[in-house]
Symmetry: C2
Subunit: 277 residues, 2 copies
């Protein structure tokens, strides 16, 4: 295995680490970050996955959210993948909402994208194996959260693996990607024009499944992308019709930024910990 | 006045704002950030100044420290200046430790630097006037904190204005700039070769003054700059000989990063609030 530790910072008693490795799934060199709490009592600890939004790397959440205070408080490890395959040989697009930094946490079927864009399998298989080797005293319990495109990713990955993830939460997620500009652009590019293939990557469709993990969503009312990209109507209707445990909260006056995420992160961690223990 | 609001984000109930303005002191366009807590009870609120380190702008602290949670908790406004004059017409140097991003919070006497590099007067006079207009229900009470070069700045500005600032704190500050590479390079450039002119900008000299505000310093033991740039021996000796109230704490295993600052920021806010009320 090519796993290489490239940064380690003590943070709130635990360790904020950054690794690079060659991904067999993505066929490129990848970077991720992971936080390990101090775990002074050597107890079994769970793992929360964080998936970031468009244009982000693993740095945004680790540097801007202040999550380490909460991860240490609750004694939980946190895994932060990058948002797409990387490298000069990887297909890209001039737009910031497609290609590198915009992998949408799915497995592409359309060339040239299908050559590298398999973020779903990368996270659910390859990075999961790596995480399990990096977290000492790992309890095996996992949950998943994310922001915007990463909120979409958390919902999709969490619902597609409903027995594995104990809870899902999202900040300003793309809830109906098949119906909004960001999602339509990404899905038609990565998955092709046959919209039947889009359903398995659309949270509003997946929430119709028999039983999904409990879901918490927080959406800022002053989010510039709310109306055009993040509309909740279809998702909430389908969740309600299928009696899913979904808590959808509006945050008055908040926007799409990490200032918003940082503010409500403690509530999300608390929600996850209720279901991880 | 040319003051212009260019960003406003709701954060932990308060507002994280960014302004631009033309500085008469620095003779250039400047940017700063300010946090205003919610102040729901319309009480008088104090102001803490934060001074950043080499290469930083007003963004580093506002985006990476998580301070807004504490500013809202303690109901205190926080003012975050940039670290140097800015603009194409402003003198600069190829090094990251001199020129733009490296103003050292002093008033330069050497041309071409003296044309713009007057960060001390900019903060103590011009930005102070602006801050007093921006903080509703301002109590008039102030304290100052900073990191690295900004820790030097907080100590120097706080001690030179000992009756104005109720407390000073610093993370990994340059305590004896006249004796270390960063300080010698900056002082000889901005102030000239006559070292007698350096003393008024050197915390280890200023701490000999009759009475300085209470000072809290936190220094990471794994800080890569500790030994060569941030040595505390001279400062602590002079502080002790003059019976100053100085608390110098070592943080085992911590480095020079914002992960370190974020970890110990609550203790610093708590220290400031003891002296602001």
């Amino acid at each position: 295995m090519s796993l290489k530790l490239i940064e380690k910072h003590r943070s709130f008693g635990g360790e904020q680490c950054k690794y690079t490795h060659y991904s067999e799934v993505l066929k490129c060199e990848m970077t991720f970050s992971i936080y390990l709490p101090s775990n002074k009592e050597k107890k079994k600890i769970p793992l929360i996955w964080w998936l970031s939004g468009l244009t982000c790397t693993d740095d945004n959440f680790s540097q801007k959210s202040g999550f380490q205070r909460l991860a240490e408080k609750y004694q939980v490890a946190v895994m932060i993948p990058d948002t797409s395959p990387r490298g000069e040989h990887v297909a890209d697009d001039d737009g910031w909402d497609l290609g590198k930094g915009a992998g949408f946490y799915l497995n592409s079927t359309q060339y040239p994208w299908a050559k590298h864009y398999h973020m779903y399998t990368y996270i659910v298989d390859e990075l999961t194996t790596i995480a399990s080797t990096l977290v000492p005293h790992f309890s095996g319990e996992e949950s998943i959260m994310g922001h915007s495109m990463g909120g979409h990713g958390a919902l999709v990955i969490g619902m597609k693996n409903a027995t594995r993830f104990k809870a899902i939460s999202a900040f300003s997620p793309i809830l109906s990607p098949s119906q909004v500009p960001w999602g339509i652009k990404a899905f038609s590019t990565y998955l092709g024009e046959d919209q039947a293939t889009w359903n398995e990557w659309d949270a509003s469709e997946l929430v119709k499944e028999a039983s999904v993990p409990p879901i918490l969503i927080t959406q800022g009312t002053e989010d510039q992308f709310y109306q055009n990209q993040l509309d909740e109507t279809c998702f909430l209707k389908n969740a309600r019709e299928n009696n899913q445990e979904v808590y959808y909260k509006k945050a008055e006056g908040y926007d799409h930024s990490y200032f918003f995420i940082a503010t409500f992160l403690e509530g999300h961690f608390s929600f996850h910990m209720q279901h991880l223990r």
